[in-house]
């Protein structure tokens, strides 16, 4: 991705301080309101006999938003590993913007404990031959530990990445000089842990919801999706900020959107590849303990519709529209696709989780909607400081004239 950074003015040492915050007080207020609504809705659902739906919505949103926040940090780590720099410090700030949600996500994880009986079928009806793995204490212990490690690593990486040494490297044009040593250690560590921990999350918080089923690719598929969700969120943010940060910001530079577009495109294709790899093996193998999971979701209404919608939002739409160069550089198109992507990811997680628990009806109503709103509010709130940094970097003029 490292674009041809020919000649570029050295960074004016400006950073977050002194630049305008992206969010107005009113907007912040709105977000807070959303959070409160969400909490209220959750509480209401619990009391009004919709506890199962409440917890399912909780789980779905937990997976979606934590996935985005975490995926963002991993994206930043990936930039370090590939030494790919096409928007100076901005790209790093952008990827790290949502890290603020990670600690909250870690806390929210423990919330699942109280909903365990409604979320995990095997809590009330244990499965003998799987009890060694599928039991409450062990599950929360291992996943809790995993998420703790992820949280610490992520925060560490973000802090270092915002430091002067890292910034210097982020702005240097040479492909050959390596990032600062500490990052050369943390970035790979973070990526490896991401793969492992999010596979665990996938197996424990999603796959175990229909305990009979198992698929070796599932972990990969799950964190692949999370990574993409981060990319689309980054893209969407870029498009929004582009409009809000005045005429002189990095996102005005077409190549920046172009590169974001490429990422969205590439990893959407990678995602469908994982989907297909998983689907064809199960389709061909025709072994009941594997097929029922797919058949249930893809062959029969109402879930069928959602499956197709997800594939449309996460692959077909991005693929077709972003095939050319021009659309990638058009903010409106990229933004729409990215937004659709986020919706797609939400639906996809929903599709993974809910059918295992509610076979025939699609529980999609005010409960899910309001709880999701609450999560969105919390997510954006946590992201705001990070976004301020993005704004600062984007307007710092380090890449004003951009590329040839």
């Amino acid at each position: 991705m490292s674009a041809n950074l020919a000649h570029r003015t050295p960074s004016s040492a400006s950073d977050a301080h002194g630049s305008v915050p992206v969010a107005s007080a009113a907007f912040k207020g709105l977000l807070v309101a959303l959070v409160l609504v969400g909490i209220a809705a959750f509480a209401a659902a619990l009391s009004s006999g919709n506890a199962d739906r409440a917890w399912q919505a909780y789980l779905v949103n937990f997976l979606v938003w934590l996935g985005i926040a975490q995926g963002g940090v991993v994206l930043s780590a990936a930039f370090y590993l590939t030494q790919g720099r096409w928007a100076g410090t901005t790209q790093f700030r952008l990827a790290e913007a949502f890290a603020g949600f990670i600690p909250l996500g870690f806390i929210l994880f423990w919330g699942l404990y109280f909903g365990r009986t409604l979320i995990f079928p095997w809590v009330l009806h244990p499965i003998a031959q799987k009890a060694a793995w599928l039991n409450t204490p062990f599950l929360f212990a291992r996943d809790g530990a995993g998420l703790a490690i992820m949280t610490l690593l992520s925060l560490a990486l973000v802090r270092i990445s915002r430091g002067p040494e890292a910034r210097a490297w982020q702005l240097s044009s040479s492909d050959i000089d390596l990032p600062p040593p500490i990052l050369r250690k943390i970035a790979p560590a973070l990526s490896i842990c991401f793969a492992v921990v999010y596979s665990l999350i996938a197996f424990d918080l999603v796959m175990s919801l229909s305990p009979a089923w198992h698929s070796t690719l599932f972990g990969w598929y799950f964190f692949g999706g999370a990574f993409w969700s981060a990319i689309v969120t980054v893209a969407l943010t870029a498009v929004i900020l582009r409009g809000r940060l005045g005429d002189h910001n990095v996102f005005r530079n077409p190549t920046v959107l172009h590169d974001l577009g490429k990422l969205v495109f590439a990893f959407s294709v990678f995602w469908i590849y994982l989907v297909f790899s998983q689907y064809i093996v199960i389709w061909y193998g025709d072994i009941p303990v594997e097929t029922f999971f797919i058949v249930h979701r893809v062959y029969y209404m109402p879930w069928k519709a959602i499956s197709y919608l997800v594939v449309f939002l996460m692959w077909l739409a991005p693929f077709v529209t972003l095939l050319g160069v021009r659309p990638k550089q058009t903010p409106a198109i990229l933004g729409t696709i990215a937004f659709g992507g986020i919706v797609g990811v939400w639906l996809e997680r929903y599709l993974l989780v809910v059918p295992s628990l509610s076979q025939h009806v699609v529980p999609l109503g005010w409960v899910e909607l309001l709880i999701t709103m609450g999560f969105v509010g919390a997510f954006v709130l946590c992201a705001l400081p990070g976004l301020d940094l993005v704004a600062a970097a984007a307007t710092s003029g380090e890449m004003q004239e951009g590329h040839e």
């Binding site: 674009a3 499965i127 492909d175 596979s199 070796t216 193998g285």
Partner: protein, 452 residues
């Protein structure tokens, strides 16, 4: 040359030309002995194959229930080797990665010949090879067509597509170089290069279309390379057989392919660099990056082993568990553990930056990786078949001399072809080195710094 590099302004375009073109001069006797050696081995293999066709597959060690073994292992191994080439030349091209320029031609050449080698094995393993063309669709009076639901037909399409595309890709890349060589060589070589160069003159008009075509080829080759090994992996994953039927196979095999492929690039490039005096064009910087890819893919492969093992345990499927138990502790258990050593443990050394630039170490590691990946395929293919669903039909297999010699022959065939190419055509892309000469200079300087 060695003197010249002291000066930061070198290498110049001319230096690059000189050191590359020098390789393409008339080689000495040692080279011809090597070529003769390779192709005599190929001859033996060919003879044995002929005998096999004549008398039947009974001359192999294949048996009930191990219907596939070394031949298919070799097929998968060579297809895997092929992958790194396309990875380096196409994927890294799209990523505009600098360091690929020095190594991509060699890798791409390797790809072509590896696919050419791999393509032989499906034929060799066939019971009635003279009907092999039935796998391809062609008009016939009975409207008999291949079964497009069969992974083997996907293979036929994927591999032949791969062969075509990588050949075209290699050829495209060669055009400006041979044009250059044309201008600086004499005699039959001049004629030869002139023909290959298609009268290339590097006009802006030519470059304009050339760049676009090359870019798009790269864009097509990238998903292709992934699809090819995925399809290969599905030869196994489509079966219900425990040890074969696993959803992770596609990405897992792709990673494994790149893993072994990059290792093979090293295995070839490190000695070549020495013998052909390419130290100034292929620098530790390049190897450092190759090593990183090996490390990454090694980790992916290890992740896959782990996932499979975990999932087998988690699934509670007794049959699956038995298969894996036999894979780890059965009669062929040692093969598995050697494989783990080669594929998972030894590559971990590459975490150390010092080892990543120590070419001797790299070369040895790359050899281990090659062995490990060959074993991996063998363990998966033959090992899983041996302990199938029906215990009364369990049996292990031992290879026959025919199979062994044909395997050896395939290596000879590959190395022979590669050696011929290396001396006949520019094994390093002069054009691209020139394009990225600034980076090359940096690399050289950096390495001398490192050495100091």
């Amino acid at each position: 040359m060695a003197a010249a590099v002291q000066d930061a302004s070198t290498p110049t375009f001319r230096d690059i030309d000189r050191s590359v073109l020098r390789v393409m001069e008339m080689p000495g006797t040692a080279y011809w002995i090597w070529i003769a050696f390779c192709f005599s081995l190929v001859g033996i293999a060919a003879a044995l194959w002929t005998r096999q066709i004549y008398s039947g597959l009974g001359v192999t060690g294949l048996r009930q229930p191990v219907m596939w073994a070394i031949y298919i292992t070799n097929f998968v191994f060579w297809v895997g080797i092929a992958h790194s080439g396309t990875l380096i030349s196409a994927i890294l091209f799209l990523f505009r990665t600098r360091w690929r320029t020095a190594v991509y031609r060699a890798a791409e050449t390797m790809t072509l010949f590896a696919v050419a080698t791999a393509g032989l094995f499906p034929l060799i393993h066939l019971g009635r090879v003279w009907f092999a063309y039935w796998l391809l669709p062609y008009p016939n009076e009975r409207f008999l067509q291949p079964n497009f639901r069969s992974p083997l037909v996907w293979d036929a399409f994927a591999v032949s597509t791969y062969l075509t595309i990588s050949a075209l890709f290699l050829f495209m890349g060669l055009i400006p170089d041979v044009a250059n060589a044309r201008e600086q060589s004499k005699g039959w070589r001049k004629t030869f290069y002139s023909i290959l160069a298609l009268g290339w003159q590097g006009t802006d008009e030519q470059w304009r279309h050339y760049s676009m075509a090359y870019l798009l080829l790269a864009g097509l080759a990238t998903p292709l390379v992934i699809s090819v090994h995925s399809v290969v992996s599905w030869d196994f994953a489509m079966a219900q057989l425990p040890g074969w039927h696993s959803t992770i196979f596609a990405p897992y095999f792709v990673a494994g392919a790149i893993f072994s492929g990059v290792a093979m690039v090293m295995t070839l490039l490190i000695p070549m660099r020495k013998w052909l005096h390419l130290e100034d064009l292929v620098t530790p910087w390049h190897f450092d990056n190759l090593a990183k890819i090996i490390l990454l893919t090694s980790l992916v492969v290890s992740y896959s082993y782990a996932t499979e093992t975990f999932m087998t345990w988690y699934s509670g499927d007794k049959i699956e568990q038995m298969t894996f138990h036999m894979r780890y502790f059965g009669p062929w258990g040692y093969l598995f553990w050697v494989m783990v050593l080669c594929n998972c443990l030894i590559p971990l050394l590459l975490f150390s930056p010092r080892i990543r630039v120590n070419l001797t170490a790299l070369w040895i590691i790359s050899i281990f990786v090659n062995i490990g990946m060959w074993l991996e395929r063998f363990v998966i293919i033959a090992g899983s078949l041996a302990v199938n669903f029906n215990p009364s039909q369990w049996a292990y297999y031992r290879p026959s001399i025919t199979e062994i010699m044909i395997t050896v022959g395939s290596f000879a065939w590959f190395l022979g072809l590669f050696s011929l190419f290396a001396r006949l055509l520019p094994i390093i892309s002069m054009t691209e080195l020139k394009e990225g000469i600034t980076w090359l200079k940096k690399a050289l300087r950096k390495d001398y710094a490192k050495a100091a």
